[in-house]
Symmetry: C2
Subunit: 340 residues, 2 copies
DNA sequence: TTGTATGCGTTATCAG
DNA sequence: CTGATAACGCATACAA
């Protein structure tokens, strides 16, 4: 390994000067600087980030603790985050919490041991243990996707609006297509996004004069098997629903597959609307009517909030809600538009 | 920050003993050990990975330099890698090369400055500059997805077979469905996987008695616009192809969309087969006939090879090819199976 | 069975 | 404008 002292020796200056040249941290005689730069070139020197971190206390890394990286939705968010973080001269350490408090805590520990300068966390259903560790270490933290009801102190959060967008889709099913038996296949129970989406479902029903208490709501978990089972429970009753609200991307794909196995292809036999959009949704049948989350913006805002807090830790907590956009296609029963 | 000396003071032992207790690196009196563990508990001490790395020369991190994380295919690979790496007690630093030599080099620099213990790289079309930096630093390296023709010394590689699987799909179009005008929409030119897939296309044509030199091959790049343009060039000729080989997942989605805009829905008016599978391909129309890459295995093998090389750097170079599986659905013209 | 001393490569303080 | 020196927190060689 070639170190700073090696460069210093070649350039016939002190290591101090080499350091100052690299960091532009004080005025250096142009000639000296030239000698140093040439010595760096000649030796092929590259700074050791580890040593630098130990000395400065900053690691130039951001930790990302995501739930289920396999979910393409999170893949998009990771992409957006990586882009911004890299542009700011930081690196990204990626961990997966698998959406369990235990693995979440382990992930946080791993990030903390690398002394990350900030953390982006998609919190699990019970993130208290993780929060406790984080606040003791006072690492800047931004929550993503799941915006908690009660705000932890000095912690920011960014997610999307869930209630109103789902309500709007329900209204569409009722007002535009006259459905009165509308059901919901909700994602994992216990997490805030699911609670909000279910609340939005109920709100939408009320607005079109339906009774939320009488509406079928099944929790589909996140595996295709659970979704299939939930759908079966829902359909094998005297008067099954005629329209279905699908709570996220995983539930949507699993539900469409399960419907298909029963010979149902939306909108025929069942109208559907979904939360989360797909890049291929325009070109494949059934063409899904969805609420599309602004995933790129989600990542970008998360990084923005995090860096602001890194600069000013004592800031008041902030939470940001981004608005999804309604992608009206045909699975809800709308006729095919002209351009497609 | 609470350090080892703090713990030592509380436990009334030396920092050396604390270190040995934590690392189990020498025998310690059970009573002393108990005192140390209690002191760790009491102080909330957590080891500083940065300081440890500086001292030991190992960072317990693996660097991942991927092309285009936005591609869901790579998302799956990242997921598989993260899982294995974490289980081995390492962390993953994620960078995106955006498939350009410049950004690739910057990504490698970033990883090197963090002193990663090993690197998984999806090489760009011209990875020589990156290789040069890596070999000077002697960081264990495994190439993923794109297996180079000539093997850099002391470097492993893992990818999938491209030639034979594509040839097999072409044969299927010719033998089972009688197509004689078969075209290919290939991914980004210049990269080895594209070259192999085009070679497989030509090989398949030869096997069914068609002339590869006369077959339309267009490079679709990776943007929907380029794909649309390529498809237009291909179709607006006197006798357009009746079957289409789609070179990867991005090309596939863009091509199906473009076909649809012309009123064509495979297999009607155009038979298609694709490289890369989709989790939703079973449930949405057109149901795509594809070659499915074993992405999980790809990630797992990459990590396996990397850790073997980290343990034994002087190993001969190895390259592994995993076999895709043929998912026969209906976009090629096959009738719908019974179970779907 | 335990402790002391040293150095990993860098940056910050202070002195010149 | 430049340099000597110390310290970041830890692991290890050596000593007791």
């Amino acid at each position: 390994m070639v170190t700073m002292s090696d460069v210093a020796r070649v350039a016939k200056v002190s290591a101090t000067t080499v350091s100052h040249v690299i960091n532009k941290s004080r005025k250096v005689n142009p000639e000296t600087e030239k000698a140093v730069r040439e010595a760096i070139e000649a030796t092929g020197y590259a700074a050791d980030g580890i040593a630098r971190s130990l000395r400065t206390g900053r690691s130039q890394t951001i930790g990302l603790a995501m739930t289920a990286i396999s979910n393409t939705y999170f893949g998009d968010v990771v992409h957006a985050l990586e882009l911004k973080v890299t542009n700011l001269g930081y690196s990204l350490i990626l961990t997966d919490t698998h959406d369990t408090p235990e693995q979440e805590l382990r992930a946080i520990h791993a990030l903390l041991s690398h002394r990350v300068d900030g953390i982006v966390l998609a919190p699990s259903a019970f993130p208290e243990a993780a929060y406790a560790h984080l606040s003791r270490r006072k690492v800047p933290l931004v929550l993503i996707d799941r915006v908690p009801e009660t705000h932890p102190p000095r912690v920011d959060a960014v997610g999307v609006s869930n209630i109103e967008p789902i309500a709007r889709m329900v209204e569409h099913l009722g007002m535009a297509h006259g459905h009165t038996r509308i059901a919901m296949l909700a994602p994992k129970p216990g997490i805030i996004t699911t609670r909000e989406r279910v609340a939005g479902f109920c709100l939408g029903l009320e607005r079109i004069g339906l009774d939320p208490a009488a509406a079928p709501i099944e929790y589909a978990g996140e595996s295709p098997e659970q979704t299939t089972a939930a759908l079966t429970r829902m359909l094998e009753v005297p008067s099954p629903p005629t329209a279905l609200v699908l709570g996220n991307n995983l539930v949507t794909v699993a539900a469409i597959a399960a419907l298909r196995r029963r010979g149902i292809t939306p909108p025929h036999g069942m109208a559907t609307v979904s939360f989360d959009d797909f890049p291929w949704a325009d070109s494949f049948e059934p063409r899904l009517t969805t609420m599309s989350q602004p995933v790129d913006e989600l990542g970008a805002v998360a990084v923005q909030l995090l860096f602001e807090r890194m600069a000013t830790p004592e800031l008041e907590s902030r939470s940001v809600r981004l608005e999804p956009t309604f992608e009206l296609r045909e699975s809800c029963g709308c006729p095919r538009g002209p351009g497609v």
